[in-house]
Symmetry: C2
Subunit: 151 residues, 2 copies
Amino acid sequence: MLEFAAPEKGIEQEEGKVFRPKFDGNGLITALAMDASSGEVLMLAHMNAEALSKTIETGKAHYWSRSRNAIWLKGETSGNVQQVSEMWTDCDQDAVLMKVTVKGADASCHTGRISCFYRKIEASRDGSVNLSFDSRKAKFDPKEVYSTQEK
Amino acid sequence: MLEFAAPEKGIEQEEGKVFRPKFDGNGLITALAMDASSGEVLMLAHMNAEALSKTIETGKAHYWSRSRNAIWLKGETSGNVQQVSEMWTDCDQDAVLMKVTVKGADASCHTGRISCFYRKIEASRDGSVNLSFDSRKAKFDPKEVYSTQEK
């Protein structure tokens, strides 16, 4: 497993050339996957140090499942592995952005859709806030792919 | 302020047509801004219910600053207001993705850069993990714009 440098404050963190991932109180950073080809934002999840290390070492996105308390190789069950071509971090290094190519059915959401962001937020005049679905169909049927709550 | 519906579990949360933002233990959801025109991911931050409500009501991105413990109208000091054209949520509704047009200097990072994701992560053979900067120059000098730690 890779050993990451400890986070600093200020200029060293923001303008430095050493990766110093700033994990939160639960030991997690936010990880964002976007399609390397289309630029579409696919999903947002979390990584602990081990998931981050495995992602860098293998070139395949690994996450930390907060619901299952376990490391998770994305696509292990569904085949929708995310092959990482680039990884970027932000100014305070508490997030990573990955450019990925999705294998299998080319779907990153456990609902079978290409992206987890399939519903648009719309405010109504009566103060309620509703969601409208994009028009694309799911790429796979989750009932046929997952036996459990696994994503 | 808008009153948001309470989050549910399972199918209602993932396939429903009601926005049910799932705030974490600190009352926050993750908010992602991308440029509506270029598709570039600009920044990742957090919103509490008030910031989310103000964003939807005004069409300008508001965030919750965890370092300053305060609501934050993005661009209030710098002029780099993010005008929101679309907002999307993800499967479990604990994140929002905004398509924005940035006013002012067209820079969303407090360092003066277009995007907070200006450094690429690169692993070396010796096991160290380093960062390389993209080649773009900052759009403004933060020393001239901010008097404090304000972003």
